[in-house]
């Protein structure tokens, strides 16, 4: 513990330290010499291609993929063309950029995924150099060709190639270049001798960094920081310029006195860096140059590769791996020799406490006197997060826990979270997993992505452990892991369909949020249709099964699943798909077996394809509907002949449907239409399309009694209705003589009270009275009352000895009818007596 600062080196007012990450578990025969190496940030995988330039077909170079700790992940002979550059995408895919501009993409396990080209002109002029870069838009690639032209692709998943303008005066490749992402724009910064250019989509501009003159020499190396915010330039005279990548401000200017160009040059910073630096590497030397002009020198024995991280630089050699970083301020505070920071005191207090020394109390008292105990706990917890060594973590956390005991009202959140996160980090840092993430990187990466990476590396049990341990809701946690696991499982070629289906079902069960149809889709993608169908059977949501079944051309099954789901939109989707896929006969047959689908399709046809509707009914021998269809169609027909012929078709179909009633009425309608047309032609009566009743009404009002009579007879109109009609019509036209004649034509089927009431309604009391005598005895009183003949009504009521009727008459009497009232009352009394 005392030696914790032994690996620290002062740089300006800060310290730098190297932490051992791994003894590399690989065994490289020739070390990292003559190899193309790409190691992804955030403890990502390492790809290694030995002697990429060797072109003899007899011995193919080997492409190897390792975890960050050197564990072999994949290895295969490189059979494609010469590779210029290797790189990793943000989603851990390997990019191999070939001389001819082809980019091949492999997954972490070395399976080829796809390829694309960086443009036609590259084929002739070859890629000289390439760089893989990351931006908010994803992973991008920049190349420079032998004709000195740059081409950019900002996001390889949405490939848009941009050929940048020519750089004036540039022959061959530039001496050095970097890709910058600024203000949502991707640019190339390059040097040609002492000159510096910025190259964007449209222009090439010469730029001069403030404080760097051409006399300082040719720019031979440059580097941008992880965040694209800072830039470092190195000249052939050993001058190192650092500043903002906008080139608007200089940070420092250091003479390294090294005239040889370094093999790698990287920024080494951390968030809230006190003393950022640039790390330069030569064959035997690693030089850390702080902006404060001080330097640290580390000797190197083996060829190394530097990997830039957001909070330091990883140094990978053939035998081990280290993390070089500025010591976080809180760690400096605690571990700096003779530090009096509260955290340092607390750590000391705890140490004494464990030794059962009373000094513990003195230290504690000292912190408490300054009321800094809370701060001390916080410092210890934070520092623990930054430490790689588990023992150091533990002693810090114990100290924090010890300090917490003396605090009331202190939120344990930070302590608990850090404890949990450290456990997870320690687990993934383990050499067998090989994700050397710092706490800072982990926070940046987020837990979600970490789990994704574990899953992607197929550490399923660990991923599930982590999810459970951190209590991530199943949807985002365990289920997601299981889904990936299952998708991977279905690709195992050595297992039978049954075995896989069973294994998947057993593990996944009905975990919420795991979609069997997604897994099935994966199986289908791998050419295992049978397995896909087996898996689909486990899917609870029938709606989800449909799209894949359609894709697999299992249309019958898709249709029944869609129907099962009850989602009519889905049924429509399948139906319209089937319609395009199948011939008409098969299509109709398929629908026939699915009544729900059939009726939906019928509706669709009603709206969009009337003709098809007819075919459907025909196919089903549904004569009734077919007839209805013709009826509907007849109303759309303007010409009478067309209308009649459609109605005739309807009659034929109604006949086949044995619907005698409909046959009869339809024939009647045709007869009526012909009749109407005839009269329209002869008299311009405007009858066409009217109902029989209205036709007769119109005829009567036009005085065409004979024709009305004819209809009445021809269409066997019930007497009652006809009499009502004629009665009303004659009364309305005030043809009173005609009415009287009509009333006498035969015994009225509607009685004569109707005559009385209609006449009264037409304000003809005189005519009304004519019919009063004809009404039946039961209606006499009513009839008399209707014409206002109280005396008559009274007579009738008294004669009928009907108490209710007497009452009715009485209620109509006013004071002036005293005589009548008297008579009625007498009669009533007489009835009552009996």
């Amino acid at each position: 513990m005392a030696f914790i600062t032994a690996s620290w080196n002062p740089l300006g007012d800060a310290f730098y330290r190297k932490t051992d990450l791994y003894e590399m578990s690989w065994s490289l025969r020739d070390g990292l010499r003559d190899s193309l190496v790409a190691a992804a940030p955030y403890g990502g995988p390492i790809a290694l291609l030995r002697e990429p330039q060797r072109r003899s077909p007899s011995s193919r170079p080997q492409l190897e993929i390792y975890s960050a700790s050197g564990g072999t992940v994949a290895s295969f002979p490189w059979k494609s063309g010469p590779v210029v550059q290797l790189g990793w995408t943000v989603s851990d895919e390997l990019l191999c950029i070939q001389e001819d501009g082809t980019v091949l993409i492999y997954d972490l396990f070395g399976s080829f995924k796809r390829h694309f080209s960086m443009g036609q002109e590259v084929v002739q002029s070859q890629v000289m150099e390439a760089k893989v870069f990351h931006s908010p838009y994803g992973t991008g690639i920049a190349i420079v060709t032998s004709s000195s032209r740059f081409t950019l692709a900002t996001n390889i998943d949405d490939l848009k190639l941009r050929r940048l303008p020519e750089v004036p005066g540039l022959q061959g490749k530039p001496s050095c270049w970097v890709v910058l992402t600024q203000d949502r724009q991707t640019k190339v910064l390059l040097s040609n001798g002492p000159e510096l250019f910025i190259l964007d989509n449209t222009s090439c501009t010469v730029v001069c960094p403030p404080g760097l003159s051409p006399q300082d020499g040719n720019i031979v190396h440059m580097s941008v920081s992880f965040s694209y915010k800072y830039l470092a330039l190195l000249t052939d005279s050993g001058h190192l310029w650092t500043g903002l990548s906008t080139l608007q401000e200089k940070l420092s200017d250091v003479d390294t006195k090294k005239t040889m160009a370094p093999k790698q040059m990287l920024w080494c910073r951390r968030p809230k860096s006190q003393q950022p630096s640039v790390v330069l590497m030569w064959d035997r030397l690693l030089l850390v140059v702080g902006v404060c002009n001080e330097t640290i020198q580390y000797p190197i024995e083996d060829p190394c590769v530097l990997v830039g991280e957001m909070d330091g630089v990883r140094i990978i050699s053939s035998s081990n791996q280290e993390l070089l970083q500025e010591v976080p301020l809180v760690c400096q505070d605690i571990f700096k020799i003779a530090s009096m920071a509260p955290g340092a005191l607390l750590l000391e207090a705890h140490r004494e406490y464990e030794k059962s020394s009373q000094k513990a109390d003195e230290y504690l008292r000292e912190i408490k006197e300054q009321s800094m105990l809370g701060e001390a706990v916080r410092q210890c917890v934070e520092a623990a997060g930054h430490e790689y060594d588990t023992n150091t973590q533990k002693s810090l956390m114990r100290a924090a826990s010890f300090g917490k005991c003396f605090l009331t009202d202190f939120s344990p959140d930070q302590f608990v979270t850090t404890c949990r996160e450290l456990r997870v980090l320690n687990a993934v840092r383990d050499s067998s997993v090989g994700l050397p993430l710092t706490h800072t990187q982990f926070k940046q990466l987020t837990l979600q992505v970490l789990i994704d990476r574990l899953v992607y590396r197929q550490f399923y049990p660990l991923a599930i452990e982590v999810c459970r341990y951190l209590k991530i809701p199943d949807y985002q946690g365990v289920s997601r892991v299981l889904k990936h696991w299952a998708s991977c499982k279905v690709q195992q070629k050595d297992l039978t369909d049954d075995a896989i289906a069973r294994a998947v079902c057993m593990k996944v069960g009905d975990s919420p949020g795991v979609s069997y149809s997604d897994i099935a889709a994966k199986a289908y993608e791998c050419g295992r249709a049978e397995l896909a169908i087996k898996l689909l059977d486990f899917e609870a949501r029938s709606g989800e099964q449909v799209p894949l079944l359609l894709k697999m051309k299992r249309s019958q099954l898709a249709l029944s699943k869609a129907v099962e789901s009850g989602d009519t939109d889905l049924v429509y989707t399948v139906v319209s798909y089937l319609k395009n896929e199948m011939n008409r006969g098969d299509f109709f047959m398929t629908l026939r077996n699915q009544p729900v689908a059939l009726s939906l399709y019928r509706q669709f046809c009603k709206l969009q394809e009337q003709e098809t509707l007819k075919d459907l009914y025909n196919q089903d021998d549904d004569h009734q509907e077919l007839a209805n269809y013709y009826v509907t169609a007849s109303y759309r027909e303007k010409r009478l002949e067309g209308r009649l012929s459609l109605l005739q078709s309807a009659v034929d179909e109604y006949n086949k449907a044995k619907n005698e009633f409909a046959v009869k009425t339809t024939e009647d309608e045709m007869r009526l239409l012909r009749f109407q047309r005839k009269l329209d032609d002869e008299k311009g009566a405007g009858l066409l399309g009217l109902s029989l009743q209205v036709t007769m009404e119109t005829l009567l009002s036009l005085g065409l009694h004979k024709q009305a009579e004819q209809l009445y007879k021809d269409f066997r109109v019930p007497d009652k209705r006809y009499w009502w009609l004629k009665l009303k019509s004659l009364a309305e036209k005030e043809e009173w003589d005609e009415l009287e004649k009509f009333s006498k034509s035969k015994k009225s089927p509607i009685g004569y009270l109707a005559f009385v009431e209609v006449c009264i309604k037409c304000n003809n009391k005189y005519e009304a009275k004519k019919y009063v005598s004809k009404v039946t005895p039961e209606q006499k009183v009513k009839a008399h009352l209707a014409v206002g003949d109280l005396e008559g009504a009274a007579d009738a009521a008294i004669e009928r000895r009907n108490e209710a009727e007497i009452g009715a008459v009485l209620s109509r009497c006013s004071a002036s009818n005293s005589l009548v009232i008297e008579r009625l009352n007498r009669a009533r009394a007489a009835i009552a007596k009996k």
């Binding site: 609870a540 939109d569 209805n628 009425t665 109902s691």
Partner: protein, 584 residues
């Protein structure tokens, strides 16, 4: 640029709004539903950044008005609102045009027309479409194709289209997400079974995402309209029911003929009568309406005159007010009293309007004694009464008698076709398909048994102080509500025989609750049942259910949900098929 979006929730909520208006009181806080709908709407609006104009499908303004006032829309940068119609959109300087429409094909054509005529004038505008209740594939296709053709009619029984059932099931799932899983589901009828099946399936599909809300509803009852076809055919005799039968209530508003509402200002007499229909809002926020809406119309007169006395007594109080304090107190009550007086005036006018009409209008279940009714219907046709009335009568006779004698049925049909026109042959066909009209077959007529067992016809209904639900139809109890009542007590097992006679299966399902959510019922605490009417419900049925809720010892509270509010007229109309006549 066209983006199509969908929103399930708004829609379900919008259709469920109906019940929010009915049951603003009671134990179930329906505001949650309203809030959820509102939230969804807000989120949708915020997705379209920048100023916006909304183009409304007129039909939707009502339901939406219930969840969102204009001020809410305004807060979310809605600057203009238009009604959906053909041609160019009115000018509006906004970034987004949002169409709020139902997924109907004919509306898609209008939208397409709007957009195409727009494109030439404006370039950088985003168009969005919000489908209520949800997106339909057909409509999207239509937008792409832009073909012209006829109109849509969706009716579950006619077309065997389960779309509406699917929406119902979805809506019920939303409801459960907000109010907790409903432990017991009962149902009667084909559609009820289908909806329950869909719900159970959907629940399985979301297995694992356990709902942790304490259930508000104890029971869900799904009732298929097909089980009780008779009730909507009869004229509702509650106050609210009659208003709906005669004038039609839509989204809580009714339009009335203006004559009776003329403002009588002194001196002016009644020179200029208003010509615009009078639009009134009807809901329980109005004290008087809450009091009389569910009363039998025959009891409304008494209630109104009682109210009139109370109000005039209250106004008389001013003579007794002697001290300044008393006068002040009187004045402070004035606004309330004046509101009550104008409310009384309104309802007195409405009652008068209805009274003038009713006698000729009412269709009651009672006189369905075969011979008499034949003549009656015959006379109605001869007098050319409105077709819908005839159809209601004929269907009623058919339903009550397990079909019509062949001869009678053909006679009616011929009479209808001859009088109202041959085109109604399709309507008659639809009625037959829906089971409302059918010829008698050999099978026994079960209706008398059903009627007697369930006590559907009560000879001595007390209209003034009802003691049974039959008061809502002056002596006829709606079968649907009787089933609901019996379910609560003594349970359906007691009427097993009758249930078998009614169409469609009856069933009971239980939904497992997560442990810890089992309700511990307080002594005397009411149980709550959600009654869902598939295929519509009448105001009278709602009144009957509310009556049941209020009966003191029932121990049951009812919340009503439905796919739509119907009355005999609107219901029969939805079943009518009118071929388009040729356009000249």
């Amino acid at each position: 640029m066209m983006r199509l979006r969908r929103s399930h929730l708004i829609c379900c909520a919008a259709s469920k709004e109906k019940m929010a208006a009915h049951l603003s009181y009671g134990r179930v806080n329906l505001n949650i539903l309203r809030e959820a709908a509102r939230k969804e709407l807000r989120e949708f609006l915020d997705k379209c950044a920048g100023s916006k104009a909304i183009v409304w499908d007129e039909y939707l303004t009502g339901p939406f008005g219930l969840i969102a006032q204009y001020s809410l829309l305004k807060e979310h940068e809605v600057e203009k609102m238009f009604t959906l119609k053909n041609g160019r959109l009115p000018p509006a300087d906004v970034k987004n045009i949002i169409f709020f429409v139902r997924p109907r094909l004919e509306l898609m054509d209008i939208i397409a027309d709007n957009i195409t005529s727009e494109d030439r004038h404006h370039s950088s505008r985003d168009f969005h479409i919000l489908f209520v209740p949800r997106r339909s594939m057909l409509c999207e296709q239509r937008l792409k194709e832009q073909v012209l053709s006829g109109c849509v009619q969706v009716e579950c029984y006619l077309e065997n289209d389960q779309t509406s059932l699917y929406h119902t099931a979805k809506g019920l799932m939303t409801l459960q997400a907000l109010y907790g899983t409903i432990p017991q589901i009962y149902g009667k009828g084909e559609c009820a079974r289908l909806v329950a099946n869909m719900m159970l399936r959907m629940k399985r599909e979301f297995a694992g995402s356990q709902n942790q809300i304490l259930p508000v509803f104890d029971t869900l009852l799904l009732l298929d309209r097909n089980v009780d076809l008779l009730t909507p055919l009869a004229t509702q005799l509650t106050y609210e029911g009659l208003i709906d039968e005669i004038y039609g209530i839509s989204n809580g508003y009714v339009k009335l003929p203006p004559e009776k509402f003329a403002q009588k200002k002194q001196g002016e007499g009644s020179k200029d009568l208003p010509t615009e229909p009078k639009k009134l809002q009807l809901n329980s926020a109005e004290e008087l309406y809450a009091e009389i809406r569910d009363k039998n119309f025959n009891a409304v007169g008494a209630a109104l005159s009682k109210k009139a006395k109370i109000i005039s007594a209250a106004f008389e109080e001013r003579h007794n007010a002697k001290t300044v304090g008393e006068i002040k107190q009187f004045v402070s009550q004035l606004p309330h009293m004046q509101a009550a007086r104008s409310s009384l005036a309104n309802h007195t006018s409405i009652a008068e309007l209805i009274k003038d009409i009713t006698s000729a209008y009412i269709i009651q279940c009672f006189p369905i004694k075969s011979h008499y009714v034949n003549t009656y219907i015959e006379d109605c046709i001869a007098q050319k009464d409105p077709l819908i009335k005839i159809l209601r009568l004929v269907c009623m006779q058919s339903v009550c008698n397990n079909g019509l004698k062949h001869k009678v049925m053909d006679y009616y049909k011929r009479e209808i076709l001859q009088t109202y026109g041959y085109e109604h042959i399709l309507t008659l066909n639809n009625l037959e398909k829906a089971g409302l009209l059918k010829p008698q077959t050999g099978s026994r007529n079960n209706y008398p048994t059903i009627r007697k067992t369930l006590k559907l016809w009560m000879e001595d209904a007390n209209e003034q102080n009802p003691n049974d639900i039959s008061y809502v139809y002056s002596g006829y109890s709606p079968l649907s509500i009787r089933l609901t009542q019996i379910l609560a007590r003594p349970g359906w097992r007691s009427i097993e025989e009758v249930l078998k006679m009614l169409p469609g299966p009856h069933f009971e399902e239980r939904q497992q609750l997560p442990s810890g959510l089992h309700k511990k019922r307080q002594q005397g605490e009411n149980r709550t049942t959600l009654v869902f009417f598939l295929g519509g419900v009448t105001y009278a049925e709602i009144a009957a259910l509310r009556f049941l809720s209020q009966v003191e010892d029932s121990g049951m509270e009812y919340v009503i949900a439905t796919t739509k509010l119907i009355n005999g007229t609107t219901w029969i109309k939805s079943l009518m098929d009118r071929p388009e006549s040729p356009t000249q």
